[in-house]
């Protein structure tokens, strides 16, 4: 049973547009929700993260929106740039359980110039 579901699988956006990636989770014990960015040939790197006590977190052009009642969260990339082209993974974790991450399937984002 996949505990974190991510969509879309791939996304193509024009430069300057908004990229939106959605995730839904099952386990209500999750208490930390990070997003990872992965470039080809590199490992995933933490991009931004949120805890369920807030509904939104913004860092530069990246924003996480969190809906606890719907058990959904999403990543918004404003003013998308070609350099944002990468694979994005949402994840969830129960921090008291030993930091084991549960990932979504990933979204391949392509930003066209």
């Amino acid at each position: 049973q996949q505990q974190v579901k991510q969509s879309p699988q791939s996304l193509i956006v024009q430069k300057g547009g908004i990229s939106i990636i959605n995730c839904a989770y099952e386990n209500t014990a999750f208490d930390y929700f990070p997003w990872y960015q992965q470039f080809p040939g590199k490992g995933p790197a933490l991009l931004i993260a949120i805890r369920p006590d807030v509904s939104e977190k913004k860092e530069g052009r990246f924003t996480i929106s969190f809906n606890k009642s719907a058990k959904q969260f999403s990543l918004h990339i404003m003013d998308s740039q070609p350099g944002d082209s990468a694979t994005y993974f949402c994840a969830a974790i129960v921090e008291t359980s030993g930091s084991r991450l549960t990932f979504g399937e990933g979204t391949q984002l392509t930003v066209n110039p």
Binding site: Q2, V4, Q6, Q9, Y36, G41, K42, G43, P44, A45, L46, F89, E95, G98, S99, R100, L101, T102, F103, G104, E105, G106
Partner: protein, 112 residues
Amino acid sequence: EAGVTQFPSHSVIEKGQTVTLRCDPISGHDNLYWYRRVMGKEIKFLLHFVKESKQDESGMPNNRFLAERTGGTYSTLKVQPAELEDSGVYFCASSQTDAEAFFGQGTRLTVV
């Protein structure tokens, strides 16, 4: 400061052979994790070391997989004998207690 490094970057082996993957975590990180991504699916947890002890190995697929972390430093993940379904990208990550996990670049394993 060096990041998490993994060796080799790529490995192509025949079904039935043995492969050993290595991970060198960031110095001083007690927590070391192995994950695997198969065929564009989600990245799945395999196991977690705290220093040299296995804290959680519930994600290990079967007894063909053996992970070790001698002396609480580097770790190896051995697959013996390898099967076709073992193909994928194996990631290692390390962290200090309750801190961000840093990932290595991964080892792409292809079993033919």
